[in-house]
Amino acid sequence: MSARPAMARDRILERLRSLLREKRPPFRDPIAHDLPAPPMTVYPPSGRRSLVETFGAKLTELSGSCELVRSETDVAERIAQKICEWVPTGGPERTEVLSWAPGELHVARLEQTLAELDVSLFVPDDMNDQRVRDHAASLAVGITGVEAAFANTGSIALLPAPGRSRAASLLPLHHLVLIPLSRLYPTFEDWLLKLRKRGRLEAMVRRSGQIAFITGPSKSADIELNLTLGVHGPKVVHAVVFDDE
């Protein structure tokens, strides 16, 4: 922009440099040790439960729900059943759900199974298009996969990409999240450590535009700390974990 902000930058940095040179250490009681080495963790050791059980228990505790589908061929069936629970199907009009592109969901025969129930996937290509946007905002169910899921906190991580809208996990009242077992980690820290070791962490964070960590349904406790669900994001979050190995 104008010349002034550029000067603001240099003045701020120069002030900081000279102050930090002068006042060393700048703190009253500095804690002398260095930057801690990952993994840093704040979790109690988890019990003897499996990752899926831990994930499911945690998500349930947070007003979400979770199920494990063992056979890969049943996954599409369960998704269809869940959609029918949430929204009326089989009426005169087709039921549409807001979704990531089927190729991003890694579920065999998903579209065909849903079509039998007259349910189709709406995969937006550009949410800036007003018609696409309005239509996406009118749908009650969103389906997404995950980049990773974390058992100890019942959390998921989502990365936007072509075919993977942010809207599908944000606008609808119901969020159906599909988690391949191979992407389930005990904690955030395990995932970060793996990416860091492979030298992929920095690039992944930078290139995705936005990483979203989501833990259960949208909620607020602003009204006298009463828990209310579905403030802006989904009110209902259901996870289907399936064995992809």
């Binding site: 102050l19 930057l35 840093m40 979790y43 944000l170 936005q210």
Partner: protein, 479 residues
């Protein structure tokens, strides 16, 4: 709102203490938040977490200039536009210019105390941009035309009944005090705003230097909305919000969640590194980051770098016996209340003496230091600040005269002895309670006894004891 933030300190405190509804709301909310925090931190190795969190924040503040340059470099490489502002006015000018450039009329904002600090809504409003607060709590107080009273729970001073009444009046909601229905009314209203806004604005909880990433912590999802749905997104952050690595942000996020609300994590944690990538479906086409000083380098200059470690969790507010009685508005016209607010508000001001009472809004009980996830020694900062304000001659003239007179008397044993005898004799004439403490002093000393008693003089006095001891064998131990 019964507390007028622009009134003087004593009036504000009296207004707060006189409002039973306010005190009910404060008591309910802070008790629950404290309880939840206690449970959440008992489940983990809290000391390890505090040590790690503190080390990360210390590292960051020590290397601010290098890390800010690294952050800027990475943000630009990610496709963001970076702006620097020395003052609040410079920051609002920058954001106004961005709004003008895109013909923005409607903006949505997720909760940000930094935008409160620079009064961004007012500045954009003057340019004809309507800013809608989207955090449920912030939305409620925006409807009520009040400032927030807590860093993380802005509407903590209102009871459910108060909020229901406000929604009936402002949104035509049918009469109910059911939080679910109040919440649904807000969802309907705000959903339209999210989809129509041309500009999304947020603050920043942590900025990651190594990747150029702005992190936002929310539970409602409004943080994801404002960073994803509007075509232009602006993040405003104080220059101290920086951390070196991705892992540091993830750790501090969990530290904040446990300390603020007793959650293991918040529902949403959004890490925005740049505008929408090629082929992506949604996300902003432009992302701007405004780096704000507005007194932060002055905090460093004034010797209070410790205050810059703060991660704004609000645990010190919830546990402070003063905050729990008077609430946030009694701290005056500032975005920051409670113990941390009593430190940073005077320090951010051009003239700290404007807020000279705030460091005294503390009993120095030390609970704020115990709950702080980054181990800020708040009582010590409050004491140092009292000291500095006295040096600045910010205390009232009569107080300075009285302290000077006492110092002179205390340096002269005979004078001191004579004076204390007079005082003892004089105090016997004053009204006393059943313990013998003086319950009412004459003006101007009555200011002391208005809210507490003046302790009775010890009998026997020190000198009498000393004389009595002197007659015994002085070598036989010193007790």
């Amino acid at each position: 709102m019964t507390v007028d933030p622009s009134a003087n300190f004593r009036t504000r405190v009296e207004q707060a203490l006189g409002d039973d509804n306010l005190r009910t709301a404060l008591d309910r909310a802070t008790s629950r938040l404290r309880g939840k925090r206690t449970t959440a931190v008992a489940a983990i190795d809290l000391e390890r977490l505090r040590d790690e969190a503190r080390a990360i924040r210390e590292h960051s503040i020590r290397r601010l200039p290098e890390m800010l340059e690294q952050l800027e470099r990475n943000l630009i490489a990610n496709g963001c536009q970076v702006h620097w502002a020395e003052t609040g006015t410079e920051a609002t000018d920058i954001i106004n210019a961005i709004a003008r450039q895109h013909g923005v009329r409607r903006a949505v904002k997720s909760k940000s105390m930094t935008t409160e600090e620079i009064r961004l809504n007012e500045a954009l409003g003057q340019e004809g941009v309507a800013v809608v607060e989207t955090d449920l709590g912030e939305y409620i107080i925006q409807l009520a035309d009040e400032p927030p009273s807590h860093i993380t729970a802005p509407v903590l001073h209102k009871r459910a009944e108060d909020i229901a009444e406000l929604f009936q009046r402002e949104l035509g909601m049918h009469p109910t005090t059911d939080p679910t229905e109040i919440c649904a009314a807000a969802r309907r209203q705000l959903r339209g705003e999210f989809l129509a806004a041309e500009l999304g604005i947020s603050g920043c909880n942590f900025a990651i230097a190594e990747t150029g990433t702005i992190c936002i912590v929310t539970n409602e999802g409004n943080g994801r909305m404002v960073t994803s749905m509007a075509p232009v997104y602006v993040a405003l952050l104080g220059i101290e919000k920086i951390v070196p690595r991705v892992e540091d942000a993830i750790l501090l996020w969990q530290a904040v969640a446990r300390s603020a609300t007793g959650q293991e994590t918040t529902v949403y944690f959004s890490m925005s590194s740049g505008p929408r990538g090629p082929g992506q479906v949604d996300g902003p086409r432009e992302m701007h980051v405004v780096l704000l000083d507005n007194g932060r380098t002055r905090i460093l200059e004034r010797g209070y770098a410790d205050a810059l470690l703060c991660v704004r969790c609000g645990a010190c507010l919830n546990s402070c016996p003063i905050y729990r009685e008077i609430g946030g508005h009694a701290y005056g016209e500032t975005a920051y209340s409670g113990p941390i607010g009593a430190v940073v508000t005077p320090l951010l001001a051009d003239n700290p003496a404007t807020f000279r009472e705030l460091p005294y809004a503390s009993s120095l009980c030390g609970v704020c230091r115990e709950v702080c996830p980054v181990k800020i020694d708040l009582p010590r900062l409050l004491l140092d600040l009292r000291h500095n304000l006295t040096q600045l001659k910010a205390s009232p003239r009569y107080e300075r005269t009285a302290v000077r007179a006492f110092a002179r008397a205390a340096e002269r044993p005979r004078t001191y002895q004579r004076l204390s005898r007079i005082v003892r004799w004089f105090m016997r004439l004053l009204p006393q309670n059943q313990d013998g403490d003086v319950s009412k002093l004459p003006p101007p000393l009555s200011a002391w006894t208005r809210s507490r008693v003046f302790p009775k003089p010890a009998t026997p006095g020190f000198r009498e004891l000393w004389r009595a001891r002197g007659t015994q064998d002085t070598t036989s131990g010193d007790g």
